[in-house]
Protein backbone atom coordinates (compact mmCIF):
# COMPACT_ATOMS: atom_id res chain seq x y z
CA UNK A 1 0.00 0.00 0.00
CA UNK A 2 1.23 3.47 -0.80
CA UNK A 3 0.67 6.66 1.11
CA UNK A 4 -2.64 7.57 -0.59
CA UNK A 5 -4.12 4.15 0.06
CA UNK A 6 -3.06 4.23 3.70
CA UNK A 7 -4.56 7.68 4.11
CA UNK A 8 -7.83 6.55 2.49
CA UNK A 9 -8.01 3.47 4.67
CA UNK A 10 -7.27 5.56 7.74
CA UNK A 11 -10.11 7.94 6.83
CA UNK A 12 -12.58 5.09 6.42
CA UNK A 13 -11.59 3.47 9.70
CA UNK A 14 -11.82 6.81 11.47
CA UNK A 15 -15.31 7.49 10.09
CA UNK A 16 -16.47 3.97 10.90
CA UNK A 17 -15.11 4.33 14.43
CA UNK A 18 -16.40 7.79 15.20
CA UNK A 19 -19.84 7.59 13.56
CA UNK A 20 -21.58 5.16 15.98
CA UNK A 21 -20.13 7.03 18.95
CA UNK A 22 -21.30 10.39 17.60
CA UNK A 23 -24.76 8.99 16.85
CA UNK A 24 -25.09 7.61 20.37
CA UNK A 25 -23.97 10.91 21.85
CA UNK A 26 -26.47 12.84 19.74
CA UNK A 27 -29.36 10.56 20.73
CA UNK A 28 -28.46 10.89 24.41
CA UNK A 29 -28.20 14.63 24.05
CA UNK A 30 -31.54 14.84 22.27
CA UNK A 31 -33.25 13.12 25.18
CA UNK A 32 -31.58 15.34 27.76
CA UNK A 33 -31.57 18.80 26.14
CA UNK A 34 -34.05 18.68 23.23
CA UNK A 35 -33.45 19.14 19.51
CA UNK A 36 -32.15 22.66 18.99
CA UNK A 37 -29.99 22.99 22.05
CA UNK A 38 -28.56 19.49 21.94
CA UNK A 39 -27.13 19.77 18.43
CA UNK A 40 -25.60 23.11 19.27
CA UNK A 41 -24.14 21.86 22.56
CA UNK A 42 -22.81 18.61 21.16
CA UNK A 43 -21.15 20.25 18.19
CA UNK A 44 -19.68 23.18 20.10
CA UNK A 45 -18.65 21.53 23.35
CA UNK A 46 -17.72 18.04 22.34
CA UNK A 47 -17.65 17.10 18.67
CA UNK A 48 -15.37 19.81 17.27
CA UNK A 49 -12.74 19.76 20.09
CA UNK A 50 -12.66 15.94 20.15
CA UNK A 51 -12.37 15.76 16.38
CA UNK A 52 -9.53 18.29 16.33
CA UNK A 53 -7.62 16.52 19.11
CA UNK A 54 -8.14 13.10 17.51
CA UNK A 55 -7.01 14.27 14.08
CA UNK A 56 -4.03 16.08 15.59
CA UNK A 57 -2.82 13.11 17.61
CA UNK A 58 -3.24 10.51 14.85
CA UNK A 59 -1.81 12.66 12.10
CA UNK A 60 1.22 13.51 14.23
CA UNK A 61 1.85 9.87 15.04
CA UNK A 62 1.50 8.93 11.37
CA UNK A 63 3.87 11.74 10.45
CA UNK A 64 6.59 10.18 12.63
CA UNK A 65 6.30 6.93 10.65
CA UNK A 66 6.43 8.82 7.38
CA UNK A 67 9.73 10.43 8.31
CA UNK A 68 11.31 7.01 8.76
CA UNK A 69 11.01 6.14 5.07
CA UNK A 70 13.99 5.96 2.74
CA UNK A 71 14.97 9.12 0.91
CA UNK A 72 15.52 7.69 -2.57
CA UNK A 73 12.22 5.85 -2.81
CA UNK A 74 9.58 7.36 -5.09
CA UNK A 75 6.15 7.72 -3.49
CA UNK A 76 4.11 9.65 -6.04
CA UNK A 77 4.12 9.26 -9.82
CA UNK A 78 1.84 10.00 -12.77
CA UNK A 79 -0.61 7.20 -11.93
CA UNK A 80 -0.95 8.38 -8.33
CA UNK A 81 -1.47 11.91 -9.61
CA UNK A 82 -4.25 10.73 -11.93
CA UNK A 83 -5.97 8.71 -9.21
CA UNK A 84 -5.71 11.59 -6.76
CA UNK A 85 -7.19 13.96 -9.34
CA UNK A 86 -10.18 11.66 -9.92
CA UNK A 87 -10.68 11.22 -6.18
CA UNK A 88 -10.67 14.98 -5.63
CA UNK A 89 -13.18 15.37 -8.47
CA UNK A 90 -15.48 12.78 -6.89
CA UNK A 91 -15.10 14.46 -3.52
CA UNK A 92 -16.22 17.72 -5.12
CA UNK A 93 -19.30 16.02 -6.58
CA UNK A 94 -20.07 14.53 -3.16
CA UNK A 95 -19.76 17.98 -1.58
CA UNK A 96 -22.09 19.51 -4.15
CA UNK A 97 -24.71 16.76 -3.89
CA UNK A 98 -24.57 16.69 -0.09
CA UNK A 99 -25.13 20.44 0.24
CA UNK A 100 -27.84 20.43 -2.43
CA UNK A 101 -29.77 17.57 -0.82
CA UNK A 102 -29.30 19.13 2.63
CA UNK A 103 -30.69 22.49 1.58
CA UNK A 104 -33.60 20.94 -0.31
CA UNK A 105 -34.71 18.83 2.64
CA UNK A 106 -34.13 21.42 5.34
CA UNK A 107 -35.71 24.44 3.64
CA UNK A 108 -39.31 24.76 4.59
CA UNK A 109 -38.96 22.65 7.70
CA UNK A 110 -39.48 25.78 9.80
CA UNK A 111 -42.75 27.71 10.12
CA UNK A 112 -41.12 30.82 8.63
CA UNK A 113 -39.87 28.84 5.64
CA UNK A 114 -36.30 29.21 6.80
CA UNK A 115 -33.50 26.83 7.77
CA UNK A 116 -33.14 26.36 11.55
CA UNK A 117 -29.81 27.60 12.90
CA UNK A 118 -28.88 24.30 14.51
CA UNK A 119 -29.01 22.55 11.12
CA UNK A 120 -25.98 24.38 9.78
CA UNK A 121 -23.37 22.55 11.90
CA UNK A 122 -24.97 19.29 10.81
CA UNK A 123 -24.77 20.43 7.18
CA UNK A 124 -21.10 21.10 7.25
CA UNK A 125 -20.11 18.11 9.38
CA UNK A 126 -22.13 15.69 7.21
CA UNK A 127 -20.72 17.27 4.06
CA UNK A 128 -17.20 16.84 5.42
CA UNK A 129 -17.90 13.17 6.10
CA UNK A 130 -19.36 12.62 2.62
CA UNK A 131 -16.39 14.33 1.01
CA UNK A 132 -13.96 12.20 2.99
CA UNK A 133 -15.92 9.04 2.16
CA UNK A 134 -16.07 9.81 -1.57
CA UNK A 135 -12.36 10.64 -1.69
CA UNK A 136 -11.28 7.54 0.23
CA UNK A 137 -13.55 5.08 -1.55
CA UNK A 138 -12.52 6.41 -4.96
CA UNK A 139 -8.86 6.00 -4.12
CA UNK A 140 -9.31 2.45 -2.85
CA UNK A 141 -11.39 1.44 -5.88
CA UNK A 142 -9.03 2.98 -8.43
CA UNK A 143 -6.05 1.26 -6.90
CA UNK A 144 -8.06 -1.98 -7.14
CA UNK A 145 -7.88 -2.61 -3.46
CA UNK A 146 -7.65 -6.34 -2.76
CA UNK A 147 -6.59 -7.04 -6.31
CA UNK A 148 -3.04 -7.37 -7.60
CA UNK A 149 -2.19 -3.82 -6.57
CA UNK A 150 -3.28 -4.47 -3.01
CA UNK A 151 0.00 -6.17 -2.12
Amino acid sequence: MNRLQKQALYNLVMIAGIFPFAALLTVMSLKIFGAALSVYLVVRNFAIPTFCIFIGVTKTSLGVFRMQKKDKEIYFDERDCLINYKAVLNAFYACYISLLVGFIFSSGSDENDSIPFYVLPLFFSSTAIFVMLAYSITILILYSWGDRDGE
Partner: protein, 73 residues
Protein backbone atom coordinates in the same frame (compact mmCIF):
# COMPACT_ATOMS: atom_id res chain seq x y z
CA UNK B 1 -7.57 3.73 -16.99
CA UNK B 2 -7.02 0.14 -18.07
CA UNK B 3 -6.79 -0.46 -21.80
CA UNK B 4 -7.04 -3.97 -23.11
CA UNK B 5 -5.98 -2.92 -26.59
CA UNK B 6 -2.43 -2.03 -25.58
CA UNK B 7 -0.26 -5.03 -24.97
CA UNK B 8 3.20 -4.85 -23.46
CA UNK B 9 6.32 -6.98 -23.27
CA UNK B 10 7.69 -5.60 -20.03
CA UNK B 11 7.66 -8.91 -18.22
CA UNK B 12 9.55 -10.65 -21.01
CA UNK B 13 12.01 -7.78 -21.37
CA UNK B 14 12.70 -7.75 -17.64
CA UNK B 15 13.74 -11.38 -17.73
CA UNK B 16 15.76 -10.93 -20.91
CA UNK B 17 17.64 -8.06 -19.30
CA UNK B 18 19.18 -9.85 -16.38
CA UNK B 19 15.91 -10.66 -14.63
CA UNK B 20 15.60 -7.21 -13.13
CA UNK B 21 12.86 -6.81 -10.58
CA UNK B 22 9.86 -4.52 -10.87
CA UNK B 23 11.35 -2.33 -8.15
CA UNK B 24 14.63 -1.96 -10.07
CA UNK B 25 12.77 -1.00 -13.24
CA UNK B 26 10.58 1.41 -11.26
CA UNK B 27 13.68 3.09 -9.82
CA UNK B 28 15.21 3.36 -13.29
CA UNK B 29 12.20 5.10 -14.83
CA UNK B 30 11.21 7.07 -11.74
CA UNK B 31 7.85 5.59 -10.80
CA UNK B 32 6.53 3.37 -8.03
CA UNK B 33 6.57 -0.40 -8.18
CA UNK B 34 2.78 -0.41 -8.11
CA UNK B 35 2.71 1.50 -11.39
CA UNK B 36 5.02 -1.00 -13.08
CA UNK B 37 2.80 -3.77 -11.74
CA UNK B 38 -0.30 -2.05 -13.14
CA UNK B 39 1.32 -1.48 -16.54
CA UNK B 40 2.51 -5.08 -16.75
CA UNK B 41 -0.96 -6.31 -15.87
CA UNK B 42 -2.56 -4.10 -18.50
CA UNK B 43 -4.48 -2.13 -15.90
CA UNK B 44 -2.85 1.18 -16.66
CA UNK B 45 -1.69 2.75 -19.91
CA UNK B 46 1.40 4.88 -19.25
CA UNK B 47 1.97 8.36 -20.59
CA UNK B 48 4.11 8.79 -23.69
CA UNK B 49 7.01 10.04 -21.58
CA UNK B 50 6.89 7.03 -19.30
CA UNK B 51 6.59 4.67 -22.26
CA UNK B 52 9.76 6.16 -23.76
CA UNK B 53 11.54 5.95 -20.41
CA UNK B 54 10.66 2.26 -20.10
CA UNK B 55 11.86 1.62 -23.66
CA UNK B 56 15.11 3.47 -22.90
CA UNK B 57 15.61 1.39 -19.77
CA UNK B 58 15.59 -1.74 -21.92
CA UNK B 59 17.49 -0.13 -24.85
CA UNK B 60 14.71 -0.94 -27.29
CA UNK B 61 12.16 1.01 -29.32
CA UNK B 62 8.80 1.93 -27.83
CA UNK B 63 6.99 -0.35 -30.27
CA UNK B 64 9.05 -3.27 -29.00
CA UNK B 65 7.62 -2.69 -25.53
CA UNK B 66 4.06 -1.59 -26.31
CA UNK B 67 1.85 -2.85 -29.11
CA UNK B 68 -1.52 -1.52 -30.13
CA UNK B 69 -3.96 -4.24 -31.08
CA UNK B 70 -7.24 -2.97 -32.50
CA UNK B 71 -10.23 -4.95 -31.31
CA UNK B 72 -12.48 -6.63 -33.90
CA UNK B 73 -15.82 -4.89 -34.18
Amino acid sequence: MANDEIKNQIRRLRFENGEITQQQLADKVGVTRQTILAIEGGKYSPSLTLAFKIACAFNVKVEDVFQYEPQDT
